[in-house]
């Protein structure tokens, strides 16, 4: 009886941890969605600026300087965005690690043992299916994030390759 009670408490604690992790994950997704929106705006501004720069005569220093001012401002915004993205990625890795730990703990609880044999086969099966589904959803979300990160990296590379010389050595 006491073993059953401790199992229930362990499962409750694990459920609480999972709920906290789910909340963290949902907040992280929301942050990422907002960051993606900011990145899209930055990309649009960068494209527009490059078009404008390509149409400006090379000897029009004042006009080019104004464009380069905006370019520098955009670069600073992009640097801040990249730093924020690194934070988000780091946080996401932390959340992934926490989820792995929780999955391990859940496996420990679910392993059939003499004292937990009271749980029916159907209950165990359902729990395993739920975990599989949750794991698949997390994997899909991770894949989507990885694809988005790759797209951002390609955009950054393209931007770096097409960037003109710095206005000054400072």
């Amino acid at each position: 009886m006491s073993d059953d009670h401790s199992d229930v408490e362990a499962q409750q604690a694990l459920d609480q941890e999972q709920a906290m992790l789910d909340l963290d994950q949902s907040i992280a997704h929301r942050e990422q969605a907002r960051a993606d929106g900011e990145q899209a705006i930055l990309d649009q501004r960068q494209d527009a600026l490059e078009r404008e720069l390509s149409q400006t005569p090379a000897d029009e220093l004042a006009q080019r300087a104004h464009i380069l001012h905006r370019q520098a401002e955009l670069l600073r915004a992009q640097t801040r965005r990249d730093a924020h993205q690194n934070q988000l990625d780091e946080n996401q890795r932390g959340l992934g690690g926490r989820q792995d730990v929780l999955d391990d703990e859940q496996r420990d609880i679910d392993h059939p043992a003499p004292r937990t044999a009271a749980r029916t086969q159907a209950q165990l099966l359902q729990a395993a299916r739920d975990r599989q589904q949750a794991a698949r959803q997390r994997a899909e979300a991770a894949l989507a994030r990885a694809e988005e990160a790759q797209r951002r990296a390609e955009t950054a590379l393209s931007r770096a390759e097409s960037a003109g010389p710095e206005p000054t050595s400072g």
Partner: protein, 647 residues
């Protein structure tokens, strides 16, 4: 009176003429000068064609053949003529072999000079004289000019030497003596290489080959001292000997070189000074184009000088005002200084750096000019970022002190008031609680309300927040004693103070309030600030029957652990997730996760900032327990019944 050059009327006299008369005349006529043949008494025996032509051109009627040349000279009564007569008689007497002299023979329209040459020969045992007059006007003028030039060069300390094409020094003027230390007798006849050195010898050879050579070289005096000199070597012909020579002029340019060096050093010093300046400095021409930037200017503006050299500075660094409005070039004080010579001092302006950032500056623009007029302006500017930041800090500090005085006044004058915003139970739609929000009344007779964001931070920073929290707790307890369930906001700073809990207990005891009607909002900031004291406070509140709600839930990543550690009764969802709940799926997911989390911990959920029916509908659907916001009820003044003993 007939001058020596005036030839007598001519006709040929054959008496005493040597050889065949016809050949002899032909030979005599072929001589280009004016030639006459005299006997040993001075009688003119014959003249040549040039003599006759000259006599005709001068308007004479006779070539003087048969006249006595000595008598003509004697009669001329001129020193030159007298001297000639004496010399000719000496020739006839055999005292000398030849004689030559130059003399002027000016006409009314031209100055002329002639060279008289006389030579004695013997004919049939008797002396005869050949007298010739050659026009040397051109040569004489050239020689005069050369002498004048030599004199001027000598006066100007220009050493002049003539050197033959083999390198032997032919002449050496006084300036050369002074310059090189060699006297003329010492230098003349020596090889130029031995006196003036290898470089001048090469210069002479080059001039002999190409006609001229010019250059600055280092020469040496006789005493070995070296000096820089500007040297010209020019091929010329000796007027007398008609042999090619090279005229070498040398001018000591030590002073010029020294002056140039001093100028260069002065320029270097100026550059070093301007480059060591902490202030930025640049110069513009009258059109506002950059002509110079010191190092500080380049660093402060982020542009290198070579990038801006010749470009319009205003269009690149000064096109915007601090207000963000465009700064037209026509209104620029710097350009006015450059164009119209107006000196300007501006205390607060901005330059735009190369990276687009605004640089707060003060500057002075002063016109640059010389004897020829205005040449532009020089701008000296200073980065006033720190000065402006200090001024802003001072202004902020003064504002804080002003607010501090008003908070003191509000505490002493009972100017704080409480407003209450209803909290609705979504399942029933009932008002179950009211969040108390503090305001401050203006003490100017208007009773206008000051929002807490203006005075609470100042009160917290200057230690008055405890007094305000005591006031809030007292009024909250009085309301609770009157049967109103209230939710109180306390500052994070007070929650870490030990007196707070005692004051809550005293207020409840003094008013007889039901502790269950008093809920305290705790923020994550308060929990982090002093975790142990916050934990003690929360646990004790719970122990005496008060409730605790965790405010701004979801705003921080680390807030959730407190759910397991502290006896929290409910969580208030951060307003950021509620605000865009209807339009943002991600926010909806967060609220859903909070509701799920709260269920796992047995907590209630409260949503604040509900401003429309759609949001309320979503919150209800997601299972949120309570809500507050303008859509459900705005904060309104709440009447507090004073507890016994309160004035």
């Amino acid at each position: 009176m007939t001058s020596l050059s005036d030839p007598p009327d001519h006709h040929f006299a054959s008496a005493g003429c040597p050889g065949d008369a016809e050949d002899w005349h032909a030979t005599l006529d072929a001589i280009p000068g004016n030639v006459a043949l005299l006997d040993d008494e001075g009688v003119i025996l014959a003249v040549n064609a040039a003599w006759r032509a000259f006599a005709a051109a001068e308007g004479g009627t006779s070539d003087l053949v048969g006249a006595n040349y000595l008598s003509v000279c004697d009669a001329a009564d001129a020193p030159t003529a007298t001297a000639v007569a004496v010399a000719l008689r000496d020739l006839i007497a055999g005292d000398r072999e030849s004689f030559a002299t130059e003399y002027p023979c000016h006409s009314p329209i031209q100055q002329r000079w002639y060279l008289l040459r006389a030579r004695r020969q013997w004919h049939q045992g008797r002396a005869q004289l050949t007298v010739s007059h050659e026009n040397i006007t051109e040569r004489h003028l050239e020689r005069q000019s050369a002498q004048l030039n030599a004199h001027l060069l000598d006066q100007a300390d220009v050493a002049v030497q003539t050197v033959d094409v083999h390198g032997g020094i032919l002449s050496w003027n006084a300036a050369a003596e002074r310059l090189f230390g060699w006297t003329a007798p010492e230098a003349v006849g020596r090889p130029v290489q031995a006196v003036l050195g290898e470089q001048i010898a090469h210069a002479v050879a080059a001039a002999a080959h190409a006609g001229t050579w010019t250059g600055d070289v280092l020469l040496h005096r006789l005493n070995g001292a070296a000096f820089p000199a500007h040297v010209q070597a020019r091929l010329a012909s000796d007027l007398e000997a008609c042999t090619p020579t090279v005229v070498v002029t040398a001018l000591d340019i030590s002073q010029r070189v020294d002056a140039a060096r001093e100028l260069e050093q002065a320029r270097d010093r100026l550059l070093r000074v301007t480059d060591s300046m902490g202030e930025g400095m640049y110069t513009l021409d009258v059109d506002g184009r950059v002509t110079y930037m010191n190092r500080a200017a380049q660093e402060l503006l982020g542009w290198r000088f070579d990038e801006l050299d010749g470009h319009a500075m205003h269009d690149i660094t000064h096109f915007r005002r601090p207000s963000g409005e465009p700064h037209a070039a026509a209104d620029c004080p710097i350009l006015r200084a450059a164009r119209y010579g107006e000196t300007t001092r501006v205390e607060d302006d901005i330059f735009i750096r190369a990276d687009g950032a605004e640089l707060p500056i003060s500057y002075t623009a002063s016109p640059l000019g010389s004897g020829t007029g205005l040449e532009g302006c020089v701008v000296v500017f200073e980065d006033i970022t720190e000065r402006k930041a200090q001024a802003a800090r001072l202004t902020r500090r003064l504002a804080e002190l002003e607010w501090l005085a008003r908070v003191h006044e509000a505490l002493e004058g009972d100017l704080f008031v409480l407003h209450a915003q209803p909290i609705i139970e979504l399942s029933s739609g009932r008002v179950v609680q009211r969040e108390l929000l503090i305001r401050m009344r203006e003490n100017d007779g208007t009773d206008r309300l000051v929002p807490p964001g203006l005075f609470l931070p100042v009160a917290e920073e200057h230690g008055l927040i405890g007094d305000i929290d005591r006031w809030v707790i007292d009024r909250g307890a009085e309301l609770a004693a009157g049967g109103v369930s209230v939710e109180l906001n306390l500052s994070a700073r007070s929650i870490g103070e030990r007196w707070l809990l005692g004051h809550v207990v005293d207020a409840i005891a003094r008013t007889g309030a039901d502790p269950a009607r008093m809920t305290f909002e705790i923020t994550e900031t308060a929990l982090i600030r002093d975790e142990a004291e916050a934990r003690r406070f929360v646990e004790h509140l719970h122990k005496i029957g008060c409730k605790v709600v965790l405010d701004d839930f979801g705003a921080g990543y680390s807030g959730f652990k407190y759910l397991k550690q502290l006896p929290i009764d409910s969580v208030k969802i951060d307003i950021e997730f509620v605000r865009d709940l209807v339009t943002n799926t991600a926010s909806r997911n967060v609220v859903e996760a909070i509701v799920g989390l709260a269920a796992k911990f047995g907590l209630d959920t409260v949503a604040e900032g509900v401003e429309d029916a759609e949001t309320l509908q979503v919150l209800t659907a997601l299972g949120v327990d309570y809500a507050q916001g303008y859509h459900l009820g705005r904060p309104a003044p709440v009447a507090v019944t004073p507890a016994p003993g309160r004035g």
